[in-house]
Symmetry: C2
DNA sequence: ATTGTAATTGAGACTCATTCTCAATTATAA
DNA sequence: TTATAATTGAGAATGAGTCTCAATTACAAT
């Protein structure tokens, strides 16, 4: 996503383009998988660019409201995000022990949801399925 | 759920029956809908019984591990629980137009989720499925 | 019933993600 | 260039949840 599109997005919200916001946008879109605000913040610092923690949190909220990224989960270790654009749909398993997040996709699951919607006259446009429990590693540790 | 069943549950975990734990159990089961730890804590205090915040958090964890209650969501205002015991599990459809929430249940959907977990070696203990879209009424209005 | 002891409790200190404050800075339109 | 409203950042504040540890209590063994 380039500067102009981003500027336009902000304009529509009555907000200004700033280098801090742009740096945060670029970093957020650089992740193929999941990321959290603190990691993003530290990586921005490491690369010499600068943006405060406050700006990171503020900008991630903006990006979420614009649909550029989405919240994947709120774990005991913080909020996890992922980019929305260019990412095919999938659902999540969340380990309540270590906070690990696994992704999965099931065509069957999607189809059944469509049928359920049809039956109830509901026009579904998106969904979130989060399965919570213990991942393989943490199951072993428990024993 | 009565004292004896609860005592047995705790026994199996090598834990003792205490009045604090029982008070917390009873309060947790008294909610038909959602509740959060702080509310539960304050209501226990108000009714003259006593149990500390620490015990509330500790006991809610125990109850969740026993499957008596489950985490519904982690929100910006904290963790939301609902009773499982004596309540049938269900999922939700949320109308983004009017905010209406429809409940549904699909045995098929549950089974498939179990299979997916098994395949990945994940021990699922609960899940949240929220389908967002337009309800029957709002679909008509749109036309 | 008494006793030994390991489990439990509670007050409050602590953690840590996130939000808030506000003076200094900056983007933007006039 | 200037006026000014938006934005920023350092650090303080908030708040949910966890941890500590001395005092208490459940309960099994006697
Ligand atoms: Mn994902
Ligand atoms: Mn439910
Ligand atoms: Zn795990
Ligand atoms: Zn509706």
């Amino acid at each position: 996503m380039d500067k102009d599109i981003f500027t336009k997005l902000l304009r529509e919200r009555g907000q200004r383009f700033t280098k801090e916001r742009f740096v945060i946008l670029q970093k957020a879109l650089s992740y193929d998988g999941h990321f959290d605000p603190e990691t993003l913040y530290l990586q921005i610092r490491k690369t010499g660019s600068k943006a405060s923690r406050a700006s990171v949190y503020r900008t991630l909220s903006v990006l979420r409201e614009c649909g550029v990224i989405q919240q994947v989960a709120k774990t005991e270790h913080g909020t996890v995000y992922e980019r929305t654009y260019g990412h095919r749909h999938h659902d999540h398993m969340l380990c309540v022990q270590c906070g690990d997040i696994l992704e999965f996709y099931s065509e069957e699951l999607e189809k059944i949801q469509e049928n359920i919607c049809k039956k109830q006259g509901f026009q579904g446009s998106s969904h979130t399925l989060e399965i919570r429990g213990y991942c393989k590693k943490c199951r072993k540790k428990k024993k």
